[in-house]
Amino acid sequence: MKKPISLYLHIPFCVQKCLYCDFLSFPAGEEIKDRYLQALIREIMESAGRAKDRQVVSVFLGGGTPSILTAGQTEELLGAVRESYRIKSGAEITIEANPGTVTKEKLDCYRRAGINRISFGLQSARDEELRLLGRIHTYREFLESFRLAEKAGFDNINVDLICALPMQTLESWMETLKKTAALKPAHISAYSLIIEEGTPFYDRYHQEDVLRAAGERTGTLPGEETEREMYRQTVRFLEAEGYRHYEISNYGIPGRESIHNIGYWTRREYLGFGLGAASLLRECRWKNTEDLSRYLQRFSGEAPGEEACHDVREELDRLTGEDCMEEMMFLGLRMMEGVSKKRFLRETGVPVRQVYGQVIDLLKAQKLMEEDGEFLRLTPRGIDLSNYCMGQFLL
């Protein structure tokens, strides 16, 4: 059996930047989009040599807003992927879509291109919250898009939600969650709003965020107690609705957990294509440039060659044995089942306790971690303090 790998394709364009978003995305004209697409396709094709002996188990078109591409562009892109890589049958192929940007034609085309999973960025089921976030759609428009996708035959749909929004209460969050679950999507991602530097939200809420981090009362952002309560109720509610809480912020109907997402936490290899995309291959991590003109220029010729892929790389990291151990732990602990001790031994050649015995005992004493015969995992309190816990595993 060939080693599994995932592919990530970054589409850095959106109609309008959301106020909280610090991802690499921006509005752009048709000409730039088209040139970018051609460059992206060349990068995908020129990189094929790297993964000859690998089998693709998931493809993810993320952004930005990948659904901003035309049907033809999307088909062309996936055509290039199929031409250059060996895709396992039944592989999970996801596209992120902004509610309101999909049509029946586009969805049909996605099906034809082999896309079998759609991830809608709903974020909230309340229009005033959507407006506050700077989203370009309403809840109603989401509903239409969701129904269209179902009609087009998509049975594996994810809905992205964000809790702990400014002015949000526990009740208003649960309303969003209940409305979403009532649609019975196969998968729900529920993240807490993070006030990221460089966003309009940062200018607006950073001071409050600092107060909150000190455990103080805040005016508009939900306090940390409320935020944690939102999290706990989310877990409880979605589990009761039949979802499996398999990763800190992700929930899936059993069998519909995201293959692509799990890959990141279990250190499956992946190749990222496009502006700013990250990769992990043969224990090397790297990231592409975030400079659009450089990226476009390097892939502008007919046959840029494999060197072009090297030239757009930045931050190449060759992981040491210790790096790999650290990653296994701080990534693996995001999974609710935890980190398998057997797997740790198999992949590193060392028993986990030999490396991390002290840390494990400390976290267990603090009731932040639990251990059974096979797994090490965070307790609910450990999840609340996951950052602190994960930090302990750096060597």
Partner: protein
């Protein structure tokens, strides 16, 4: 070299308030007398430590000899002795002045006379120096040289109408200064045949030559092979080399005779043997009396210095040892702290001296330091009649054993424009000052005199002064003596454990306020832990202030987007790096920053 005619020598220094252009004028003199071409000139030749150039202050006395061909057709030797300008180094200044026969007083044409101008002029007059006033920066738009000339005459009482009006920066009229040095500053006197009598005004340590002694020969002659004795320390040696000062280099010569300024080396290994102010004489043919004015300089301010990384303790020790070779005023002895581990209690001339040593340790020796709150020397009179000089608050005896305590008091002079008099008087009042007098220097400016406790000015008095006067106040002080005061030791408890490095002595009246602000500040600096952490300020067993660092409830990292794991790891690493810089006290981790932050409580 042929014999030098005493009448062709001029030994002088330049004195000025900070930023009035002392070093710039020195540079211009060096450049115009052709010692260095302007291409070789690095701005401010005499300030040769990076730190000096950066801060625009002179720390070590520097000396340079230049030849000036005057309008009378004769060549003159100028020995320019640049002195440190700050009150911390007052004693060094006074010894440098004693080596001169005259002083060039630089006054800013816009700002006029400031506190340090006065302090320096008084010092110069005390040493019977002829003062030659120079009005600098006349090219500034706000310059008013006429007003400043009158001010010099009225306030200081020296003739200033024909004072050169110059721009040291552009070189304008600097020639006039050189001429007046020849005509207005007297030539040195002294008998080259008399027994040797030379004043030490500085010394530096050189790893090849040993201690290099800077001296002014008052009487007699010294040359290679002369057996010398330092009259105060008693150190004896044979002279290996004598010479004078080029720009940034030592130029050996045959001999130094009465009236000359130069250096000598005598395979002395320790600058402590050659204290500033001491008299060098001939061991076999000594002079009758040492030169007047020698005193041993004592530290006024103490603090604990600890390596941020405990393993660097030996490095810190070595660095202090090396610094002390060049800085006889620096004192240190080992101490240990429960919170900070092994370190040193160091003594300084003042806060600037402390800051300079700290910066040099960090910069030149690449050390990361944690410094405890500076403390003055308190006199503690015990019930058993004993008196101890307390430099570390931790060593304060039990209150039941203390009869009373005394704190050092300084005479402070503050020069301020009239609109800020009220604000500055308020400040002095808050700092427990005793009003002495106020004099109007002219319509818009006044000189305030206060007695202030030294411990009230070592923290942030200077900053407060500047901010409350929008930079218009200048300040100078000198030690007056000790006075009884109601003093208490304030302890800080973190999670019920006393943190010795945070204890300090404070006046009983300000204890409550200081304690409260300490707790508030520490609350901001100490990160949340898994448990709640009380921060308390206490006098003895009585808690006077309390804050609480809440237990950490939530610490979740942003989602990892598009598989950018490296970014996430960097965040975790940054967090871990921060942890490394923490000190464990009990089960609480205290960032090193916290120890320093309490030094600046007033930056609101």
């Amino acid at each position: 070299m042929t014999e030098i005619d005493q009448s062709k020598i001029r030994n002088f220094c330049i004195i000025a308030h900070i930023d009035h252009g002392k070093s710039t004028l020195a540079d211009r003199i060096i450049e115009m007398t052709g010692l260095l071409t302007s291409r070789e000139m690095q701005s401010q030749v005499l300030d040769n430590m990076d730190l000096e150039r950066e801060r625009g202050i002179t720390i070590k006395a520097q000396t340079v000899r230049v030849i000036y061909k005057a309008k009378d057709g004769q060549e003159y030797i100028f020995n320019l002795i640049d002195t440190p300008g700050h009150v911390d180094f007052n004693y060094e200044v006074s010894r440098s002045l004693a080596a001169c026969d005259g002083a060039v007083l630089v006054v800013d044409a816009a700002q006029g006379i400031e506190a340090q101008t006065l302090a320096n002029v008084y010092l110069a007059l005390d040493h019977d120096l002829d003062v030659l006033p120079v009005i600098n920066k006349i090219d500034l738009p706000s310059a008013d040289p006429d007003r400043v000339a009158h001010e010099i005459e009225d306030v200081i009482g020296i003739e200033a109408m024909d004072a050169p009006r110059i721009s040291a920066k552009s070189g304008l009229n600097v020639e006039e200064v050189l001429e007046q040095i020849v005509t207005r500053i007297p030539a040195p006197e002294g008998d080259p045949k008399a027994p040797l009598q030379a004043l030490i005004f500085d010394s530096v340590y050189d790893s090849y030559k040993g201690v290099i002694v800077f001296c002014r020969i008052m009487n007699g002659t010294v040359r290679r092979g002369t057996p010398v004795r330092m009259m105060a320390t008693g150190a004896e040696a044979e002279v290996v080399e004598v010479g004078y000062f080029g720009a940034g280099q030592f130029i050996p010569c045959e001999e130094l005779s009465a009236g000359m300024v130069g250096y000598l080396t005598a395979s002395l290994k320790n600058v402590r043997d050659t204290r500033v102010g001491d008299t060098v004489t001939n061991r076999d043919k000594p002079c009758q009396n040492p030169l007047p004015g020698y005193k041993k300089v004592n530290s006024m301010v103490y603090c604990g210095m600890y390596p941020a990384d405990g393993a660097k303790y030996p490095d810190l020790r070595d660095a202090l040892e090396k610094l002390q070779l060049n800085d006889a005023a620096l004192q240190y002895e080992p101490e240990t702290s429960v919170a900070l581990g092994f370190g040193f209690r160091c003594g300084f001339l003042g806060l600037l001296h402390l800051e300079i040593v700290q910066e040099r340790l960090e910069r030149e020796y690449n050390l990361d330091l944690v410094t405890t709150a500076p403390s003055v020397i308190y006199k503690v009179y015990k019930t058993n009649g004993e008196c101890i000089e307390l430099t570390n608050p931790t060593n304060l005896p039990d209150p039941s054993e203390i009869q009373y305590m005394e704190e050092p008091i300084v005479n402070a002079e503050i020069m301020v424009t009239t609109e800020f008099i009220g604000a500055i008087m308020d400040l002095c009042q808050e700092r427990r000052g005793t009003y002495i007098s106020m004099e109007y220097m002219e319509e818009t400016r006044a000189l305030l005199r206060y007695e202030l406790p030294l411990n009230e000015i070592i923290y942030d008095f200077f900053d407060a002064l500047k901010s409350r006067s929008r930079g218009y106040a200048s300040f100078d002080y000198e030690m007056k003596g000790y006075r009884e005061a109601q003093l208490v030791k304030l302890d800080i408890l973190i999670n019920k454990e006393e943190v010795d490095a945070l204890s300090f002595i404070v006046h009983a009246d300000s204890a409550y306020d200081r304690g409260r602000r300490m707790c508030e500040k520490l609350k901001q600096e100490i990160p949340r832990h898994l448990f709640e952490i009380p921060i308390q300020a206490a006098i003895g067993s009585k808690v006077i202030a309390r804050e609480t660092v809440k237990a950490m409830r939530k610490d979740v990292l942003a989602k990892c987007y598009g598989g950018d794991i490296t970014r996430k790891k960097k965040l975790l690493e940054k967090q871990k790096e921060g942890k490394k810089r923490m000190r464990q006290v009990g089960n609480v981790e205290i960032p090193q920053k916290a120890f320093m932050s309490v030094l600046k409580l007033d930056d609101d």
